[in-house]
Symmetry: C2
Subunit: 331 residues, 2 copies
């Protein structure tokens, strides 16, 4: 799209009868400009409907107002909440978040990050600690603060904010064992791309093995983890193994689906069968019968990540690792 002829600072300056430079200073409120001229310039800008050009400002001043954020999915409420936290933390700072979606695909992630870097952002927030070698190189050479979020199990390029998913899986296993569950199965989807879910699963499985119990069954599928899929997989698993007393899911959506199956099948939850998910979604709080879950501080993670970028900007020396402890909720 060719940008239409629009009002520039030069037009404003001409109308106000001052130089471009004075108009620039007047509108930004920097430097010495007489009150009379500030008023003239402001009026001219308003009358002309002048809208500044960030492209020119950023290029000229060598300052960036953008913070690039890369998440694997937008339609997952978890990442939407992270974004929301980032946007809130950035409010009033003069910085603006730009979002990119990787669709859980490493090549797409590379492209998205490269594209973000071409806007010369003030910082980059990316999801997870696992990136392709090319992407890592890009991030290391970026010369801007990079915050990796959601995960702590691994090495960060620069800074990271999140929780340990291995630990989250382990803790849930302990809680379920403490509740007296013995025949525990697992249902998960998309572990091949969702490395954090895979880490939870490993932490969970290892905890059971350490206790000498082991996993009583598992159902792992590729593809998205939706309520409907959770329902179907639960039905399948229970058809094979009706004696289970607990199912751990890779997330709350699957667990909610599991609960809906149990409601239809008249299975007592959590009496006969305990279900457990992950995330602590609103959905789970509202379910008629409780599903255990691990609450994750999604907004807080977004806020903390944004703060790190702002702090670096302001010359402060923010922490390189912000760890949250997920909280188990077992109604």
């Amino acid at each position: 799209m060719t940008i239409k002829q629009s009002i520039t600072l030069a037009d404003v300056a001409t109308k106000a009868g001052v130089s471009k430079m004075t108009a620039s200073r007047a509108l930004r409120g920097t430097g010495d400009v007489s009150k009379a001229n500030v008023e003239l310039v402001r009026r001219a800008a308003r009358d002309l409907g002048y809208v500044g050009n960030h492209l020119a400002t950023s290029l000229s001043s060598q300052r960036s107002v953008l913070v690039g954020v890369v998440v694997p999915s937008l339609t997952n409420i978890v990442f939407a909440e992270v974004l929301s936290g980032i946007a809130n933390a950035l409010e009033g700072s003069g910085k603006q978040a730009v979002f990119g979606v990787s669709d859980y695909d490493p090549d797409t992630e590379y492209d998205v990050i490269r594209n973000m870097l071409s806007w010369r952002p003030a910082g980059l927030i990316v999801t997870g600690l696992e990136q392709s070698a090319d992407t890592l190189k890009l991030l290391r050479n970026a010369e801007v603060p990079v915050v990796q979020i959601m995960d702590l199990d691994g090495d960060a390029v620069d800074a990271c904010v999140g929780i340990s998913h291995a630990e989250a899986g382990h803790t849930m296993a302990s809680a379920l064992l403490a509740e007296g569950r013995k025949r525990i199965a697992y249902i998960g989807c998309g572990l091949e791309r969702d490395t954090r879910a895979a880490k939870r699963f490993r932490g969970f499985k290892n905890a059971l093995i350490d206790e000498g119990i082991g996993l009583a069954g598992e159902r792992i599928e590729t593809g998205p983890s939706t309520i409907a899929v959770g329902r179907a997989l639960t039905a399948q698993l229970l058809a094979d193994q009706p004696d289970l007393d607990c199912i751990y899911y890779s997330n709350d959506d699957l667990a909610a689906g599991g609960l809906f199956h149990c409601l239809s099948a008249n299975i007592d939850v959590p009496g006969t069968l305990r279900l457990a998910g992950f995330n602590g979604l609103d959905l789970v709080d509202s379910l008629p019968k409780g599903v255990a879950t691990t609450r994750t501080p999604r907004r807080e993670i977004g806020i903390a990540a944004a703060r790190i970028i702002l702090d670096v900007e302001n010359g402060a020396n923010p922490p390189r690792r912000v760890a949250y402890t997920p909280e188990i909720h077992m109604p």
Copy 2:
């Protein structure tokens, strides 16, 4: 953030032993450059880790690669799906979506749109047909294609894509009446800011009045519409009016909450009480007992809006109004 000294096209050109202009042409694949030089430039760029500068490119070429998108909320899955559709439709076009969130606040919306315009986008996609006078002025003067999405009930600044919410409410009322429901109540949240929900409500109410039935009760609250709120309001409403045989909600989340209450209270749904929501979320499909809903083509709306921007860009003359007919689902 001061942008660190980074590799520029001049560096690449020097390393490749050609002029900036030839390097520029080589990397963009435009104009006449000898194969040998293309290879030299590409290699130099790769070796130096050159990442182009969109700021400079856009400013210089007077071409924009950004499409600004303003939605009221990110944590509402409905808008997340719209964004997802937009992002997909833009893929491969060289355009990139930038998202802004208005939080349902007209002043914030103005600021967000103004901010977007300062990036000189190729087009703007904004939610809804109701904007403040200042915002409308901004949009009209924008000199870029503006697509208003989600709603058709009103006048568009430029183009619009969506459904008629008044009609959606009306249609649902007809369907519920056709099912034999007689004592129909309404539960809604945040109608003061969600003008589309308010339009559905009016359409619904008017349809009932036309049939000489009228609304048997209503519970309208400010604030967010979550599953938990839907559950609480349903409990309250039914405590006052236990004889209702139908409740229409402003959306699916509230309706799901209503269903969860009914499950706890052992109310037969939809036998004794029919619940109806709006949106057609995955959630509803998976609920143990059906809740009626109106499916909205969210991804399609996003795709159609993005296509309009791209079409205008390409000199085509896209439709100014794309209407979808929502489909009622009544399990």
